[in-house]
């Protein structure tokens, strides 16, 4: 619940934020490689992202610019939950989070006796580009294509995702081209591009073997990729070195197997997107160093899917879920919890792990000093079905409050 006191503070914070042009810089101009990009063009490799312990902010800052959120339950970057925690925000960034954080005098204060977590992050999405903007159907290999050019900040689906607590999502090329282009990570509010260049996106799934053009076969896909990675140049060399991420759509297990064999030949690793039964190959995936982005599972799993998911969690393979219908997104983490994931793994699958897989783990997905102050005020535990979103902040700015339209309880 947001108290009366904090409602006023919210208003203040909203006004203050809107006065800052840098908070929600819209995507503009012919290039996206300019100042609107908040993360480095080339994000750090997945294993390089790390958890720092919360740091108490120095008191020197003029406190009037500081937003302080007092949370009944604060979900920390390391997966722990702090009772009566405090989150401090300044200039759109987290400056401190934890139990023993002092609220500076003069700070705007939001009281919330429910849970506060980082804004949700989707490591893959479908339906967040305008129609026909995801697949460059005439080109099976388009390594330098960037889907961010099709990003429409006004797309209404983004608002729907925001209302469910999703603050960042990965935009990916469609699955019907072998090399679809570069993925991007964007904010659901304000049109901000976190990175226009997260991964080289491959598809080794059935849609990529299409008789609409060549290649038409798995053998053709593999020989095309083998040739490009053998003497790798450009994007292929960047993906091989790890400077650029690698994201590969695979669905059936034989497609996973084929991808892992390709990766082994060329010393590649990255995110495998789409394999529902990936868990049946959990040990091989773990050994490959790859992560997995699963399609949204049904609320009640059949035994085989349940066992496969459990095996994936058991093997400690980093996993996340894709975003299609935003109402199912958080439920996926709850299903993961029920299938045997730890509470920390489950929440991380839609926050910090997702951000790592999306290669923006150093700027979003955690309530950690220096990270974007994207967070959600929940009515209760976000891993409970009955919990709803009460408010969403992006870069410290209140961008959504649950209305009285019956869409949130």
């Amino acid at each position: 619940m947001i108290s009366t006191l904090s409602a006023a503070a919210l208003l203040l914070s909203s006004c203050a934020a809107s006065g800052q042009g840098s908070v929600a810089a819209p995507l503009a101009g012919p290039t996206v490689t300019g100042a609107v990009v908040s993360a480095p063009l080339v994000a750090a490799p997945l294993e390089a992202s790390f958890v720092r312990h919360e740091v108490v902010v120095e008191a020197a800052a003029p406190a009037a610019d500081v937003l302080a959120v007092r949370a009944g339950h604060l979900h920390m970057a390391d997966g722990s939950i702090v009772e009566d925690g405090v989150l401090l925000v300044r200039d759109g960034l987290v400056t401190a989070a934890g139990a023993d954080v002092a609220v500076p005098d003069g700070a705007r204060v939001v009281e919330h006796d429910g849970h506060v977590s980082a804004g949700l992050v989707a490591a893959y999405s479908a339906g967040y580009l305008p129609r026909d903007e995801a697949n460059e159907n005439t080109r099976a290999y388009l390594p330098d294509g960037r889907v961010v050019h099709g990003f429409d900040p006004e797309l209404s689906a983004l608002e729907d995702a925001l209302e469910q607590g999703v603050t960042s999502l990965l935009l990916a090329p469609g699955t019907s081209q072998v090399v679809g282009g570069r993925t991007a990570v964007v904010k659901t509010s304000g049109g901000r591009v976190v990175t226009p260049n997260a991964h080289l996106a491959l598809s080794m799934g059935a849609p990529a073997a299409s008789t609409a053009r060549t290649p038409t076969s798995y053998a053709g896909i593999v020989s095309g990729l083998d040739a490009r990675f053998a003497d790798a140049e450009g994007a292929y060399a960047e993906a091989k070195s790890g400077n650029l991420g690698l994201l590969t759509y695979v669905s059936a297990r034989h497609e996973v197997d084929r991808a892992l064999r390709l990766f082994e030949r060329h010393e590649l690793k990255g995110a495998l997107v789409g394999p529902t039964l990936a868990g049946e190959l959990a040990e091989r995936i773990r050994a490959s160093g790859c992560s997995v982005v699963l399609p949204n599972p049904p609320l009640v799993l059949d035994e085989r899917t349940h066992d496969a998911m459990a095996a994936l969690f058991e093997a400690q393979v980093p996993f996340a879920f894709w975003l299609s219908d935003p109402h199912e997104f958080r439920a996926s983490a709850i299903v993961a919890l029920r299938a045997g994931a730890t509470r920390a793994q489950a929440l991380a699958s839609i926050t910090s792990t997702a951000a790592d897989i999306a290669r923006v783990g150093t700027s979003v997905g955690k309530l950690l000093r220096g990270h974007d102050a994207d967070f959600v005020l929940w009515s209760g535990d976000p891993l409970e079905f009955t919990t709803s979103v009460e408010a969403v902040y992006v870069r410290g700015e209140l961008v959504h409050t649950a209305g009285h339209h019956g869409d949130d309880q």
């Binding site: 008789t211 038409t216 076969s217």
Partner: protein
């Protein structure tokens, strides 16, 4: 006993060379021990009849299996792990069709002789187990017949170990797959009539298919003469011309059979196997003269093959046997159990084929055609322990497959009374 061969005395079997001493010694007990944690792969199985597919039948004998291989075969009463009525080798399907479908063939060109079907496998498919439970332990997988020269088939075990390339694929570059007839031209069309695309290319007719084949082989001959001329796959075509790789040509109807045999003669291709062979009796002389081997299309009750509607009477295998033509039977992994590979010999025997030939036509002969007869296809010391257990005489309508062993693993345990 069904098969006519005389039983061979145990004393004449030289299979007892492993460390345990003479196998006729009754101390060769069932105390088979396994060290690792995997499935058990060491057994002794006894049977009323052992059909080895080496031209002999052992009555009242045993097969000893160690670490997934056959270590001894012999006659005599010994204590085994279990007893069955009859044992045959695991069946070898040389025309399985168990690829991933159209995505198994690269239609970038209608002539892709050099493209292996390896990447067009789904080792996780449930169809492997269906085949395995019906007695098929080894299967050849070719690219789908959407190209005239479709590429290189592979030989796969249907079970045992893990569903990985290492555990299941026993031979790559088995030969080159070619197809005559309407399948490579189906769906193609001239450039007018539909938007430009893959299907606007040649061929749309049988003469177009044959033209593509001949162009590829003439190009290979030209490349042998002209250092400046080459094309993708030329080395593979040269291996076919040199007889180093067999050429499997699908040709069911009579006109396709004659086209295939004509191409064999035109290019002096040494090693040709006609797949989906059907209308061979009217052209029996040409078949004999060509020296080609055959893989019969599945024999079905109405005498019509499932391929191109060609006629295939049940006496065709018997007729070819009389003429000395080498042939295998196949079932193309049909879902219809009446036409499964375990039933094909029954149909052929009913059509007059000698039962020994019928057994060989689903075991050692296809293993030879695929070049894996050193590993599978008969019950001999050193080969994979791929065995089918029967409730009675094999290939009788009244008998059924009660158990299947692949690589020493009991895929279907006959002791559980499961019948298929």
């Amino acid at each position: 006993m069904l098969l006519g061969t005389a039983p061979i005395a145990a004393a004449t079997l030289a299979a007892f060379t492993l460390g345990a001493g003479p196998a006729t010694d009754a101390t060769l007990a069932a105390t088979t021990v396994q060290d690792d944690d995997g499935p058990r792969t060491s057994w002794i199985v006894t049977a009323d009849e052992i059909h080895t597919a080496t031209g002999r039948v052992i009555e009242g004998g045993f097969v000893r299996i160690g670490d997934g291989k056959i270590t001894a075969v012999g006659r005599g009463k010994i204590a085994g792990d279990f007893h069955v009525a009859a044992i045959t080798p695991g069946l070898v399907e040389c025309s399985s069709g168990l690829s991933v479908g159209q995505r198994s063939v690269e239609q970038d060109s209608e002539s892709t002789p050099h493209v292996s079907v390896e990447e067009g496998l789904d080792l996780f498919s449930t169809r492997w187990e269906r085949e395995l439970r019906r007695g098929v332990t080894t299967a050849c997988v070719a690219p789908d017949d959407r190209n005239v020269l479709g590429g290189l088939p592979v030989v796969v075990k249907t079970g045992g170990g893990e569903p990985t390339m290492d555990d299941r694929v026993i031979k790559t570059r088995v030969g080159v797959r070619a197809a005559m007839g309407s399948e490579p031209s189906a769906g193609n069309s001239p450039v007018f009539g539909r938007a430009f695309g893959l299907f606007n290319r040649r061929p749309t007719t049988r003469m177009g298919v044959e033209w593509v084949f001949r162009r590829t082989f003439y190009d290979a001959l030209r490349a042998q003469q002209d250092d400046d001329f080459t094309f993708e796959g030329v080395e593979t075509v040269n291996q076919v011309l040199a007889g180093e790789l067999p050429l499997f040509i699908q040709a069911a109807p009579r006109q396709d059979l004659m086209t295939a045999l004509g191409l064999k003669a035109e290019f002096s291709i040494p090693n040709v196997v006609i797949d989906a062979a059907a209308e061979v009796i009217p052209e029996a002389d040409a078949v004999v003269a060509s020296g080609a081997s055959l893989i019969f299309a599945p024999l079905e009750f109405d005498g019509t093959a499932s391929v191109e509607g060609a006629q295939l009477p049940w006496n065709a295998p018997a007729h070819m046997a009389e003429l000395g033509v080498t042939f295998a039977l196949s079932a193309r992994s049909t879902g219809n159990a009446d036409y499964s590979l375990a039933m094909q010999p029954a149909h052929a025997i009913r059509g007059g084929l000698d039962p020994v030939k019928a057994l060989e036509a689903v075991t050692i002969v296809p293993a030879r055609l695929l070049g894996v007869d050193d590993l599978v296809g008969s019950i001999e010391q050193g080969k994979h322990a791929d065995l089918v257990f029967w409730s009675g005489a094999p290939f009788q309508y009244t008998s059924s497959v009660t158990g299947v062993m692949v690589g020493g693993e009991l895929a279907v345990d006959p002791r559980h009374g499961e019948e298929l």
